[in-house]
Amino acid sequence: MGKINIAKFKAPPLKKRIMQNGLQTFRYAILGREVNRGLLFKIFIYWILIVTSYIYLNPILKMLVKMVMNEKDLNDPTVTWIPHEIYLGHLKTAWAALQYLESLFVSIGISTIVAVFHVISCGLMGYALARMQFPFKKLLTFLLIMTFIIPPQVIILPMIIMYTKLGLQGNLFSLILPSLFGFGIKGALFVIIFRQFYTTQPKELEEAAKIDGASSFKFYWKVMFPLAKPAILVVSLFSFVWTWNDTYYPRMFLGQSPLVPLATQMSRVDASITSMIGNEETALVLVEAIKMSASFLALLPPLLIFFFAQRYFVESVERTGLVE
């Protein structure tokens, strides 16, 4: 960046100038022309980020390591990070305890369907709030925000009673039904995300459609919805992951039913693992390793999705204009 050097007209002797320039380039290299350009600042950023990343990653790495340690390594205090051999027995035990394939199937099915329903229903409501005129719009916006802050615990008991009356209690469908209408886990937040996205789109789009005489429903599906890819990606990923991880609703709605999502199965596994191993001396360490394996197995699918989607994900979040 060319800064105008006002002191130029009073040029100092050439030698001094060269020395000064040299000093300045050196200073710029270390401190930077602006503070956030210099080497020192870069080192500072890297240091902070690496330290915090370590804090973030530490539990995950521990999980990965403990998972593959055999009994001897687990009881050996000198082995912290590198096990002597890779032992897959815990994974096998966890696999069996989780009833992995069944639970995985349930989890994938429910999370996918919920994510799709959320995208459709929350998208419609978000669009209406952003772009359409209708009576009681302010009231509905207010109710939406109320919905966001009402804890699920307030409404859980009546919902259980309602589901029992409808014969849905204990049925996997009970987890999906609210999302069809834009409710369920953080549904209000998704409506808000869509609303924010649609408000940032140019108004000319609708005017063109009005002249063409297209109905707003058709226009939405043909034009606006395909435009909303960033919002769709963000909402579907959030919805998928949160539904995947949720154990509260399944615990309340499914009770003791045999087919439950992975996360719920994992919270049940505790007891079953302990009974599988019995009361041996080393049992506690083993239980821990098996639980780590179970956590890993339960998290693997969303982690994989995240790693493939994260590049688009970050971009999309920036483009949704989350709040403006």
């Binding site: 602006e34 503070v35 956030n36 950023i45 980020l49 915090t52 990343s53 804090i55 973030y56 539990p59 521990k62 229903s121 929350c122 419609l124 409501m125 209406a128 359409m132 209708f134 919905t147 966001f148 802050i149 804890p151 699920p152 615990q153 307030v154 409404i155 859980i156 008991l157 009546p158 919902m159 259980i160 309602m162 069809l180 209408f181 834009g182 409710f183 409506v191 707003s216 429903f217 939405y220 992951v241 991880n245 154990t247 509260y248 309340m252 821990e288 639980k291 956590s295 339960a298 969303p302 982690l303 995240f306 994260q310 994900f313 970050v314 979040v317 949704t320 204009g321 989350l322 709040v323």
Partner: protein, 286 residues
């Protein structure tokens, strides 16, 4: 002419109805009805009979029982509140800091972004509770420098000692809650135009001034959003101690408890919003 206009408006309203109908139906089914019903139950003694549920009206008995009858509610609520009051600023400052760092241009930032978004996948789950139980939530240096002991000495016997220690013991966990917040701040940071930074630079503002005069004011709506999000997230976290009190045992009593809890949250949020708006206005007028 006017009749035509009227018709156009009605048809527009009808079209809007198609869009809002699902949500409105959902609201009635999954929000309004359960809310009303739980209010109804909170005023009744609910007995489970083989033929169904029986409701006996008894007024505000459960409410007075919870609020004035015993201290169980406060014993659970107050420490939790203190924890939230400590945790929320930590989360907000930390995530703002990280978001600003991640927004800098340096090689490898994509890798770090991936790392900092990991909590979004982890936090909501049972896995997190597992980590806490394993004691992965503590920071090594706290023990190494026995910061905890200093703090206990400093705080003495005040009621703050325990919540502060609890938060410190779960400090990593507190940082883990920052996933969505970092994301919101990152998205928010993108809305500040580059030109305002350039002009500040030309005017010779130091980065410190730039942060306080440009970045922070422009980020204030996002800070409010994050405040609300964090508080709501904490309050509705299924494993928090107050919510553990609400189980499926006594329907009437639990409904009353849930309602009191909800009112407390609403009050807490409105206090935060008022404070924030006032602070913001003061900052603007200066």
């Amino acid at each position: 002419m006017s009749r035509f206009k009227l018709k156009a408006r009605t048809s527009r309203h009808l079209e809007a109805l198609v869009f809002i109908a699902p949500w409105v139906i959902g609201f009635l089914l999954f929000m309004a009805f359960p809310l009303g019903f739980s209010l109804y139950m909170s005023l009744h003694k609910v007995t489970v009979l083989p033929t169904g549920l029986k409701y006996d009206y008894q007024g505000l008995k459960y409410f007075t029982e919870i609020l004035f009858g015993s201290s169980a509610f406060y014993d659970n609520l107050l420490p939790f509140f203190q924890e939230i009051i400590i945790m929320v600023p930590v989360i907000i400052v930390f995530s703002l800091f990280i978001a600003i760092m991640l927004n800098q241009d340096f090689p490898g930032r994509l890798v770090f972004r991936v790392v900092f978004f990991l909590p979004i996948i982890f936090t909501s789950g049972y896995v997190l509770t597992e980590f806490v139980n394993q004691g992965e939530g503590t920071l090594g240096f706290l023990e190494r420098f026995s910061i905890g002991e200093y703090l206990i000495q400093f705080l003495g016997d005040s009621s703050w000692a325990k919540p502060v220690m609890d938060v410190l013991n779960r400090f990593v966990l507190v940082l883990w809650y920052s996933g969505v917040q970092i994301l919101i701040f990152l998205a928010g940071r993108q809305t500040i135009s580059k030109s305002s930074y350039e002009s500040a630079r030309i005017d010779g503002a130091s980065p410190w001034e730039v942060f306080w005069k440009i970045t922070l004011p422009a980020m204030s709506p996002f800070i409010l959003l994050n405040l609300i999000y964090t508080v709501v997230d904490m309050f509705t976290f299924p494993y928090n101690p107050v919510i553990e009190l609400i189980n499926t045992g006594n329907y009437g009593y639990n409904s009353a408890l849930a309602w009191i809890y909800f009112v407390v949250i609403a009050l807490f949020l409105s206090v935060i919003m008022l404070l924030f708006l006032r602070l913001n206005r003061q900052a603007r007028s200066r």
